[in-house]
């Protein structure tokens, strides 16, 4: 077929026109017209991104019957989408167009006009050659399923499920134990303001159980998932009855699998047995919830209590964020129980990062809780040895010792990550898509991580994350609306693939599967995001990225560096 390429050079007012000889570009690219089946239309224009400019382009495309389009103008970051939009309103497939940046790359940085012009010509010729090797790509719309699977019936999972169910989504909530509520359900009061937790949390649990859009599946775990955003299939299995498997069709997943605690008894500095008066903060919390008082194993109220912060912090490599505040809350509780209890808090750095934390701390201090900053601390039973910041050593015996062990990922987190095909952070918690700007998503579209499965955090922050994930799902999967997956995706060339599986390991999105029969890798197009990692890693050159194929890049480069 005869090819007719339109090349339009934007003057960008004086921005390009003053520093690049546009006539010379036109002359040079017109001379490209050397093959029989190629016709070039090359023209300058004042400002292509303006309303008139866009109309002009549309008219040129249709009137000249252009088969390909090259634009020499500004950075694709500014106006690539503008011109793709123009193409979409014409008969020209937008993937047969290419924007070449002759403003930032030439006009604005090269002060010698001849040299800037020469570079612009090379670039545009490269683009011209490239566009001839580009192929039409077509967007493919897919129906979606708006239902959601929530993994974990703790406070995070409950909140996500409620937020989604209230938005009329069908939610499947699986929980591996035999009850909902997780660890938070065992608290009497919650931070930051010591709100009474029992009522709020029990109410949420009740609402989940009664909700017409939530199907709760207790004693259930995830077996496997396949699919992609909008079209996942999950198999969940009963823990009691391995035969009982349920297949769920869903569009997205929220992972809220919670946390465990660092086992303080494994720490060489903390020596204690089950008979010693040594407890974790969580055990005290549960004791309060159960009998509304704290007693030693012999049933007496402790007269002196040592509270030790940051147990295992060095070992796990991070601050668990909520322990300081949780310990202060318990210190207050000891004082309420009996105001003449001696309460000593041993800490290294106090981490109180929320607006109400410090006021609370000051209040507790005023009640006579003693805060001792220590460099090192060790226990043997309830005998405590410590070194203060000014290197003074101390030793004291207490009626009760409360430890704040670090929060660590829940058991089974790595296994769940493997099943879901999502990554773990080096601390063992799940890895978010972007630490700052996309914190509840993962690299896999449609899988979200919330609560303490994401990292150490308190109830307030957990609720926020659960709500955030629910919002994201609400916005990404709208019932009845189709989604348009990326079309610039990878594909394997069967004849080249040697089945070494390198690509499977470098793909963050789980977009490549291995066809055992053929012994080759296959790309799941709907999952692929077109990052090109697999292309770069393939030792056999058997993967190409559509719109960034070897011939396309090679031809552009060869022409540009001639």
């Amino acid at each position: 077929m005869k090819k007719k390429v339109g090349i339009y050079i934007c003057q960008c007012g004086p921005n390009i026109a003053d520093n690049v000889d546009i006539d010379k570009i036109i002359e040079s690219v017109s001379a490209f017209n050397d093959a029989d089946d190629l016709e070039i239309v090359a023209k300058p224009y004042g400002l292509l991104c303006s309303g008139e400019g866009k109309d002009y382009l549309k008219q040129e495309i249709e009137e000249n019957g252009l088969t390909h389009l090259v634009i020499g103008a500004c950075s694709p970051r500014d106006h690539n989408n503008t011109f793709i939009g123009v193409c979409k309103e014409t008969s020209l497939n937008p993937y047969l167009y290419k924007l070449i940046n002759i403003r930032e790359h030439c006009a604005w940085i090269i002060h010698d006009k001849d040299k800037a012009t020469e570079k612009a010509i090379q670039y545009i010729r490269g683009g011209l050659r490239r566009v001839l090797y580009q192929s039409e790509l077509f967007e493919n719309k897919l129906d979606t399923n708006p239902d959601v699977l929530v993994i974990g019936g703790g406070i995070a999972g409950i909140e996500a499920a409620l937020s989604l169910a209230d938005a009329d989504r069908q939610v499947f909530l699986i929980e591996k134990t035999d009850r909902l509520g997780g660890k938070a359900a065992t608290f009497k009061t919650v931070l930051p303001k010591q709100q009474d937790a029992v009522e709020a949390i029990q109410l949420k649990i009740q609402t989940v159980q009664d909700h017409p859009h939530i199907q709760v599946m207790l004693n259930t775990r995830l077996d496997r998932i396949i699919g992609f955003l909008g079209n996942f299939e999950a198999e969940v299995r009963s823990i009691d009855d391995a035969e009982k498997m349920t297949e769920l069709k869903i569009g997205a997943m929220v992972v809220a699998s919670g946390f465990s605690l660092y086992d303080a008894s494994t720490h060489p500095d903390f020596i204690f047995s089950g008979d010693d008066e040594v407890y974790t903060a969580l055990q005290i919390e549960q004791m309060i919830a159960e009998k509304n008082q704290v007693t030693t194993r012999s049933g007496k109220a402790p007269k002196s209590v040592a509270m030790i912060h940051c147990v295992g912090r060095e070992e796990v490599g991070y601050c668990s964020q909520i322990c300081c505040n949780a310990m202060i809350k318990l210190a207050a509780r000891f004082k309420t129980q009996s105001p003449d209890t001696t309460v000593k808090v041993f800490f290294r750095d106090l981490c109180l990062p929320h607006q109400d934390d410090q006021a609370f701390y000051n209040e507790i201090k005023a009640q006579g809780v003693e805060f001792v900053r220590v460099n090192r601390i060790a226990t043997e039973g309830s005998q405590i040895k410590f070194t203060t910041m000014d290197e003074n050593e101390g030793s004291e015996l207490f009626d009760m010792v409360v430890l704040a062990p670090a929060m660590i990922p829940a058991d089974g987190t790595p296994d769940l990550a493997t099943k879901l095909g999502i990554s773990l952070h080096e601390t063992g918690f799940f890895q978010e898509a972007h630490q700052a700007i996309n914190p509840v998503a993962t690299a896999t579209d449609g899988i979200f991580i919330v609560g303490t499965a994401h990292g150490p955090r308190g109830i307030q922050a957990t609720l926020l994350q659960a709500q955030a994930a629910a919002s994201k799902i609400r916005v990404q999967l709208i019932p009845g609306e189709q989604i348009v997956p990326e079309v610039r995706v990878s594909e394997t060339l069967e004849a080249f693939c040697m089945g070494c599986k390198t690509c499977l390991e470098v793909c963050h999105y789980g977009a490549i599967v291995f066809d055992e029969d053929k012994g080759i890798s296959v790309v799941k197009e709907a999952v692929c995001r077109g990052c090109g990692n697999c292309v770069g890693s393939c030792p056999s050159g058997a993967i190409q990225l559509k719109h960034f194929t070897n011939p396309q890049l090679y031809q552009e480069m060869i022409e540009a560096v001639q």
Partner: protein, 431 residues
């Protein structure tokens, strides 16, 4: 009839932008009101963000672009909300949209108009470390990349003198000095307040010498001093001189006692600055004066460790009785050390890490929005229960630092959560 298809977001920082994009994607028409001439908020003032030390502009520019290009988002810069009447589903909002005097559609952002302008002004956005003209964009890379004119300083507009320099310099006829401020009425179903925060005014605490000694900086000033698009193009030079600092003291928690809370992010900012200094200057001595290191989040402690290792910063452990004095361009920082003894450091630059405090318009806004502020003065959530984004006024939501000090991650999360709250509230009206 309710206006449930339209929403208002006040503040185009990271929280406001994220919420706007999500609301737009869910089919709502979004009015995004921003008081400055550019969007992006405080994040874009940072050259690099912790903990990944990635380029903030690169991180945020795609979001800014997406906001500006979204057909469902009407971004109103140089605008302030003056009145909010009605209630959930039926808010009527008055907005004062100040004239920009440059056309958002015709201007291509080439910048030819700044040079000829005869009026030089201190650049507030650059923490007054640099200058701007009366027609200006606050910094290179501002989005929208369209200048605005400060009418009270423009010779022509303020009536001081005939001047047409910018109009003549523009090849696109994009500057129109006859433009006027506009009073606009918006009808929206729900409102998100994401107006951000300010920093504690450290000049109140005279012991730190801020304002008195030119080589005492606040952390945000230092951030702009380091920024490659900042007033010195990233060169770290002490104010009013050509000297590069050889020893720097970073003082944490300035204003914490006065404000009564820990801001949660400043330790990370100070650590980041230690890295900046070491990375750019190489041979520089660093001292950190702090009481408690607050490095929550799974990533932060590793960041702290790496940077202490990289910078060999020296950390003392008492903040009591710090006093900064200067003699012969040398700053002396006196303090009480961990053992209770008097000690001091000689440095040539001091960077103060001020507390995050409520934005200066917060009180006015709380009155306009009809909601309470917290004891500290941030915008207040609905009391009781476990509210996360709802205020006491139905249909009005909060996100980001307007609700309290936060890092980017928490601001974004709260914005995303608020979107859910808004959508839920609006759909309950229609169904």
């Amino acid at each position: 009839m309710s206006f449930s298809n339209q929403v208002l977001v006040i503040g185009a920082g990271i929280a406001g932008m994220e919420a706007s994009l999500m609301l737009a994607k869910s089919g709502k028409k979004v009015f995004l009101v921003e008081k400055l001439s550019l969007i992006g908020g405080n994040v874009i003032k940072n050259e690099e963000s912790f903990p990944n030390l990635e380029c903030s502009t690169c991180m945020v520019a795609p979001i800014q672009q997406a906001v500006l290009q979204d057909p469902n988002i009407e971004t109103m810069t140089l605008s302030t909300v003056e009145k909010i009447d009605g209630d959930v589903g039926h808010f009527e909002v008055s907005v004062l949209k100040k004239a920009r005097y440059a056309s958002m559609t015709d201007c291509i952002g080439c910048g030819m108009c700044y040079e000829p302008c005869p009026v030089s002004l201190s650049n507030e956005w650059e923490e007054n470390l640099g200058e701007k003209k009366a027609i200006y964009v606050p910094t290179a890379g501002s989005l929208p990349n369209v200048p605005a004119i400060e009418a009270e300083h423009c010779l022509q507009l303020s009536g001081k003198k005939e001047c047409n320099a910018c109009v003549e310099a523009c090849m696109f006829g994009a500057i129109d000095l006859s433009e006027t401020d506009e009073q606009m009425q918006l009808e929206v179903g729900a409102i998100l307040l994401a107006t951000g925060s300010d920093l504690f005014d450290v000049s109140q605490l005279t012991q730190f010498g801020y304002g008195k000694y030119p080589s005492v900086y606040t952390s945000i000033e230092f951030e702009r001093l380091f920024a490659s698009n900042g007033p010195t193009l990233g060169e770290i030079k002490i104010r009013n001189s050509d000297r590069q600092p050889k020893a720097v003291a970073m003082i944490h928690c300035v204003g914490r006692e006065e404000q009564g809370y820990c801001s949660g992010v400043c330790c990370m900012v100070s650590l980041k600055h230690a890295h900046f200094l070491k990375h750019k200057l190489g041979d520089v001595k660093l001292f950190n004066l702090y009481t408690d290191f607050c490095v929550p989040d799974k990533t932060h402690q590793k960041f702290q460790k790496n940077i202490i290792e990289e910078t060999q910063s020296i950390f003392h452990t008492s903040m009591k009785d710090i006093k900064v004095t200067e003699a012969d361009s040398v700053l002396n920082v006196a303090y009480i050390d961990a053992k209770g003894k008097e000690a001091s450091l000689n440095v040539d630059m001091v960077i103060l890490a001020p507390a995050i405090i409520p934005g200066k318009d917060t009180e006015v806004l709380s009155r306009i929005a009809g909601i309470e502020t917290t004891e500290i003065g941030f915008l207040g959530l609905k009391s009781g229960g476990l509210s996360t984004v709802e205020t006491a006024r139905e249909g009005v939501f909060l996100a980001g630092c307007a609700e309290g000090p936060k890092d980017v991650q928490s601001s974004v999360t709260q914005a995303e959560s608020a979107v859910g709250g808004m959508l839920a509230r609006l759909s309950s009206l229609t169904s």
